[in-house]
């Protein structure tokens, strides 16, 4: 718990904000992307934008796993929930995401068996407790979540549990970052690297940013001091003209990542192309089960049909996810699209840029 108070220390944050101002003074405009939705939320929650000098801007990236799940993936989940004998299990954030024919929450109100859990292990336990039902876990998440889901699948296989499967919608973050940069729609001077993801894959996974794109990367934790330190590092790299990967979250992140988590992922998954909301199909950015685990793949076991999916009319979540559009620039923001009646996923998820901008907007 000490971490919380230390990294929320007001004097330390004030000193870091001053360091950023000093470093950035007279250095021209710079724009950094916080890739991770957790960072977007923390920046808004602590009002950190207003501590930065005018020439330093932060822009949100595609780092919210709920937001980047494609409309088709949400529709498949809702379709599964409507089947007799099927229980769909998910993390809370997915419940409210609108699909073409409604959300999981609405499906539940109409009688579908949808359960919210805090960990994939709870989903496996539910399968053991309900042998008469097919329990399907929605495997939504980045490298942070994938190892725990992989572990349940391997455990289900070992224990011969036949009524548990996973709809794997897991996605990998470095390919998405590459896709954003390759699209060239947003000018960036550096990237705040995701903290939880990097705990698994290691800070070294971001070395392609300085090496191939000439961009600095500062891997950050989620407290105000963590984020301000990362911004200070990025400003320093711009001013010195020496982009590198700075690990500002050493209490959690190593260079090589968590080898055990990576091994479990490797054992269960193979890398495939994946469809991202906002980015389209990104090569080698998704995780599907290895052929020997096909029995635990909900898509294969329950023969999911291809569905005609419709993006919500007027929704510009895709552009928000690519960092091209500020949430408040979307015409639906705060009027047709609010957290109570969200049109797109960025307004639903607590990690979503629109939700963070709306719920945690700074008081004037």
């Amino acid at each position: 718990m000490r971490y919380l108070s230390d990294f929320r220390d007001a004097a330390a944050c004030a000193a870091l904000a001053e360091r950023i101002r000093r470093l950035a003074h007279g250095a021209g405009e710079m724009q950094f992307m916080e890739f991770c939705g957790g960072h977007t939320h923390a920046i808004a929650r602590h009002g950190l934008r207003s501590l930065l000098p005018e020439n330093v801007r932060l822009v949100s990236g595609p780092g919210c796993p709920v937001c980047v799940s494609s409309q088709g993936d949400v529709d498949r989940a809702v379709a599964l929930a409507g089947r007799d004998g099927v229980t769909v299990v998910t993390f809370g954030d997915m419940m409210q995401v609108p699909g073409s024919e409604g959300s999981l929450q609405e499906a539940r109100a109409l009688g579908a068996d949808v359960r919210v859990v805090y960990s994939p292990a709870d989903a496996l336990r539910l399968a053991v407790d309900c042998p008469g039902r097919q329990v399907v876990f929605l495997g939504v998440g980045f490298e942070t979540t994938a190892p725990a889901v992989a572990a349940t699948v391997l455990q289900a296989q070992r224990q011969g549990i036949t009524n548990y499967s996973v709809l794997s919608l897991h996605k990998l973050t470095p390919p998405a970052m590459r896709a954003v940069l390759d699209a060239g729609e947003v000018r960036l001077d550096g990237v705040i690297g995701p903290g939880h993801v990097s705990t698994v894959i290691g800070a070294g996974a971001w070395r392609f940013l300085p090496e191939e794109h000439g961009l600095g990367c500062a891997v950050a934790g989620f407290e105000p001091a963590d984020l301000l330190l990362a911004v200070a590092e990025l400003v320093r790299m711009v001013v010195e003209g020496r982009p590198e990967v700075a690990n500002c979250y050493r209490r959690s992140v190593s260079d090589g990542g968590n080898s055990r988590a990576l091994a479990v992922m490797e054992q269960a998954f193979q890398v495939v192309d994946a469809d991202w909301r906002g980015l389209g199909v990104v090569p080698a950015s998704g995780l599907h089960f290895r052929p020997e685990l096909a029995d635990l793949d909900a898509g294969a076991r329950l023969a999911l049909p291809k569905l005609e999916s419709r993006e919500p009319a007027g929704c510009r979540c895709g552009e928000v996810l690519r960092g091209v559009l500020e949430p408040s620039q979307c015409p639906l923001f705060g009027s047709a699209c609010t957290p109570e009646s969200p049109v797109g996923p960025c307004m639903v998820s607590t990690e979503g840029a629109c939700s963070a901008h709306y719920l945690l907007r700074e008081a004037g």
């Binding site: 718990m1 919380l4 929320r8 007001a10 944050c13 004030a14 904000a17 957790g38 808004a44 929650r45 602590h46 009002g47 950190l48 207003s50 501590l51 796993p65 709920v66 993390f91 809370g92 954030d93 997915m94 419940m95 409210q96 929450q105 609405e106 539940r108 109100a109 109409l110 919210v116 805090y118 709870d122 939504v140 998440g141 980045f142 942070t144 979540t145 939880h196 105000p224 609010t338 957290p339 109570e340 009646s341 969200p342 998820s349 607590t350 990690e351 709306y358 719920l359 945690l360 907007r361 700074e362 008081a363 004037g364």
Partner: protein, 351 residues
Amino acid sequence: MLRSLPAEGSGVSERIRLAHGSGGELSRRLVHEVFLRYLLDPELARLEDSAVLSADGLDGACGALAFTTDSYVVSPLEFPGGDIGKLAVCGTVNDLAAAGARPLWMAAGWILEEGLPLDTLERLVRSMAEWSAAAGIRVVTGDTKVVPQGLADGAYVNTSGVGWVPQGRCLGRQRVRSGDRVLVSGCLGDHGVAVMLARQGISMSAHLVSDVAPLHGLVQSLFDAEVDVRWLRDATRGGLGSVLCELAQGANYGIEVEEQSLPVRAEVSGAAELLGLDPLFIANEGKMVVVVPPEDAAAALGAWNSHPLGRDAAVVGRVTEKHPGRVVSLTPYGTSRIVHLPAGELLPRIC
């Protein structure tokens, strides 16, 4: 118009969702756009914890009756620090206390699910008896119904309570003024996190138990200290944040909360971080919120701090003319943000 509810006569197949019961924005709209739309009584429209009904002239009595009702649907039925029997008593007592009333009588209607072990029920009813005796409220009428298995979560309890408000005692949002101070009687979120963890079978800390407790004595300590109590509220479902948003909504003042002054246990803070929840919006069952004039804040804090249930009480904010209708959180970093009612259920985040 509330999108998720049927328009009158339209037959649209929108349904009630769990989020409508969460104490957040959807709950607020459900109350305003359905219940208050048809049930027009001005006393109901005040939306306080109890209705305060004038008893002046009734058999020569003076003062008022406070009348309240609530339902309890907690899962699991028994949790660290309490159970549904204790919860029903304390909830009723606290709703009456929030009206400045002395709790007198209550009714308890039990809805039992087929298959509930009789000894479980006996423990719950014994707990109700013990806590009603301790709080000085008599259970004077009741009812029992049994529903088939699968139609209830073990047991639900609905209670009604009646209390007595002494003559001349007047609380209400109409008395709140700019410059008033906001106090909370103790640490936030203990109940919500204890129950959430019990539901998941997680034991994070032996110290983390529900705060469920009868607060009439705590409230009385304010009157004994001659504090001019402007407004009181029992911060239950929806937490302190919802209570303050409700107070500010539609008013021509705002409320500023000092983030650093919010009393939150390290265990709750840690669990909230882990689950992606904001302690401001986590449920309590033993916390009172009071608004007092600035000159009475020290007396109110002193009265609470010397009461066993108010040791962690703190002044957490002030009523202000700035940003009318809004609650604003002031961070330790000199920044500020608008506090917004949560849209739906409190749900764990994904990573």
